[in-house]
């Protein structure tokens, strides 16, 4: 019989005991009998019956004490105890319940009622069993889930923290479990100097929100390391997220490109709340407004990588936050909001304390501390003050070609959308002798290329960049002219030579389709490092071993030399 139960009968009266065990056996259960409480407890320990019929008053140990001990031994499992009693006083019945009794059966016994009670108690017992089973199952699943999250977080931390968030010019606030809130914070040095910083906020919570973080971090770090520009990274990140994320999951993000040498900030904001650029002595606030849909929404063909460019001074600060800051609510359900945030900026006396003041204002507003908001501050500092780790290479570079030359010509349709620098850099960094000056190489090539493209091919006047307004106009004109570009080229001629002792030389010549320009004048006209234009050319001559140009200004020549290998 499927629901045959072992049932313990504790009854000191032999006739009653016999009657009860006969009833129980006739119902298909197995009766175990004890004639006092002590026997009952011992039998319970030995046989673990499923249900107990317990006389209240027995010699040696009464039913109340036996019931208490049995309930203790049973632990979480429900072992129903039905008290057998002709006790009629309320007080005695209460004692039965207090001792752990689940029901009563009055004498004289009625077998129909006893059978019904056994069935009812067995249903309760099974229910409890199911609940316990499910509780344990849930606990195991939860443990499993937490383990998975720990592993996911550990793996992710390795990827995410390969960047430069610990750089002294960056301050940030992030929950230890931000990954599972969908918040993502990435920062990496560019090979050419400067850094890329990304604050992202994936839709949703938990694993679905975390799932896109890994590929986005991977794109961000690998492309930044290879020298790709912000627009390239944005396009690739968008395309990748669009491809892999389900509909409805996307990433609101702001990507910053800080160039310490060129003193510019490039900003692309897709769906995050306005960040702020705090500029100059006066602390003018420039909102960094979202002008795009989040990453992972648009098809690659319709994605817009257009970003804004702002000139920077040393000490200028950029603030970004996820919507957690603005949406933080107080006890009345009011959101912290834009206006309160601006008030913190207005009230601020010392810019270096702003970050703490914002954080404190949010905590004060909410009335308690929480760590579920993401916030970031990046300060423009002198690049030398940053402790930049040297670039790492996965191969030894010893297999590289040692004596070669190559020429590349990039034409109008390429110039519009393709960034040739990462490709050229990979080629050149195969030369071991050049690796020590990889940063300078990146910077110089970036300058050579933008010089050739912007001043040569599309004929922009760099003196426009004299002030902030002109700066904006310059970049506006740049994207307009590039969009209309139909003719033109930029050529790189590269020549690598290496001597037996390992010393060597890279000669680069750049030509473009522009009319040429007077380099000497350009250099002379920009004596100050603090001006916005002409800085590029000065950088080139500072960073390379040699830099010269023909009379007509067409075809800048730059040389890098390296010493014999130790």
């Amino acid at each position: 019989m499927a629901d045959r139960l072992s049932i313990l009968i504790a009854e000191d009266n032999a006739a009653d005991r016999m009657l009860l065990s006969t009833i129980v056996n006739r119902q298909g259960h197995r009766a175990l009998t004890a004639s006092n409480g002590l026997e009952a407890v011992a039998l319970f320990q030995a046989e673990r019956p499923r249900l107990v019929l317990m006389d209240a008053l027995m010699p040696v140990m009464d039913g109340f004490e036996a019931a208490r001990r049995i309930k203790l031994l049973a632990g979480d499992a429900l072992v129903p105890i039905i008290f057998l009693t002709s006790l009629s006083e309320d007080e005695a019945l209460v004692r039965c319940l207090d001792a752990g009794g689940d029901d009563f059966l009055a004498k004289p016994y009625n077998r129909v009622i006893l059978e019904a009670k056994i069935k009812a108690m067995d249903r309760l017992r099974r229910l409890q069993e199911t609940v316990l089973h499910q509780r344990d199952l849930i606990a195991r699943h939860n443990e499993h889930l937490l383990t998975e999250q720990r592993v996911a977080k550990a793996v992710f931390d390795k990827v995410a923290h390969s960047g430069c968030l610990s750089s002294p010019n960056i301050r940030y606030l992030q929950s230890p479990y931000a990954l599972f809130n969908g918040d993502l914070l990435l920062a990496a040095f560019k090979p050419s100097g400067g850094m890329h910083v990304l604050l992202g906020d994936f839709t949703g919570h938990g694993l679905p929100a975390a799932i896109g973080a890994m590929p986005l971090a991977e794109v961000f770090y690998s492309m930044t390391a290879k020298g790709y520009a912000m627009a390239d990274i944005l396009r690739e990140a968008n395309a990748k997220l669009k491809r892999i994320l389900p509909v409805g999951v996307f990433c609101c993000a702001t990507l910053l490109n800080l160039s310490f040498q060129r003193r510019v900030l490039e900003v692309w904001n897709g769906g995050l709340p306005d960040g702020y650029l705090r500029r100059g002595e006066q602390g003018d606030l420039v909102p960094l407004v979202s002008r795009h849909l989040p990453l992972g929404v648009l098809e690659p063909t319709t994605f817009d990588d257009k970003y804004e460019v702002y000139p920077l001074e040393t000490g200028d600060r950029v603030f970004l936050w996820s919507d957690g800051v603005l949406e933080t609510c107080n006890v009345d359900g009011e959101a912290f909001g834009e206006e309160r945030l601006r008030a913190v900026f207005r009230a601020n006396q010392e810019p270096e304390k702003l970050f703490d003041e914002i954080q404190q204002a949010v905590v004060d507003f909410r009335g308690e501390a929480h760590d579920d908001i993401s916030m970031l501050e990046v300060t423009l500092v002198e690049e030398e003050s940053l402790n930049r780790p040297p670039q790492t290479f996965t191969d030894s570079g010893l297999m590289g070609a040692l004596d070669w030359s190559a020429s590349f010509e990039y034409r109008a349709r390429t110039l519009k959308r393709f960034n040739p620098l990462p490709y050229l850099m990979q080629l050149l960094l195969d030369v071991q002798g050049l690796r020590a000056q990889a940063g300078a190489l990146y910077t110089v090539f970036a300058e050579l290329y933008s010089n050739a493209l912007e001043h040569g091919v599309i004929g922009l006047d760099s003196s426009l960049k004299r002030d902030a307004l002109g700066f904006a106009r310059y970049y506006q004109a740049r994207s307009e002219r590039l969009a209309k570009l139909e003719d033109g080229y930029v050529r790189f001629h590269l020549e690598v030579q290496q001597a037996e002792d390992g010393s060597g030389r890279l000669a680069v010549r750049v030509e473009d389709s522009g009319p040429g320009f007077d380099v000497a004048t350009a250099l002379k006209a920009q004596p100050s490092n603090e001006l916005l234009c002409g800085r590029g050319l000065r950088l080139i001559s500072q960073l390379s071993s040699n830099c010269d140009w023909p009379e007509d200004g067409k075809g800048l020549r730059v040389e890098f030399v390296w010493p014999a290998q130790a």
Partner: protein, 117 residues
């Protein structure tokens, strides 16, 4: 209200239900009851009202189960005396219980006789 010494319908139901075990149940009841009576006398002799109460309670239960209704009622009185701690009252009631049990016993022995041989 007439006194019911043994409820015949209870016995009929027990016989029907217990089958072959019916005479054994009767034997067990009689044997157990003799022991209860001995314990009642002992408790009275020792003036142990708690023991008197417990024994009477237990005796009452088994009497009610076999349909010895009047005996069960007498046990209940005795239980109350024990509970109230009135040793002076005990002897009269114990005597009544003994008298009633003798009657029940002879009735059960007659019932029992139907199954022997």
């Amino acid at each position: 209200m007439s006194i019911v010494h043994v409820d015949a319908t209870v016995l009929a139901a027990l016989q029907d239900f217990m089958g072959e075990e019916y005479p054994v149940l009767l034997d067990t009841y009689l044997l157990d009851s003799e022991e209860r009576l001995r314990m009642l006398r002992e408790a009275q002799r020792d003036g142990d009202m708690q023991a008197l109460r417990l024994t009477a309670h237990s005796f009452k239960g088994s009497c009610s189960n076999v349909g010895a209704l009047h005996l069960a009622a007498l046990c209940k009185e005795l239980e109350e005396i024990g509970r109230r701690g009135q040793p002076d009252e005990a002897p009269t009631w114990i005597a009544q219980v003994e008298e009633e049990f003798a009657r029940v016993k002879s009735l059960f022995q007659a019932e029992r006789a139907r199954f022997t041989g």
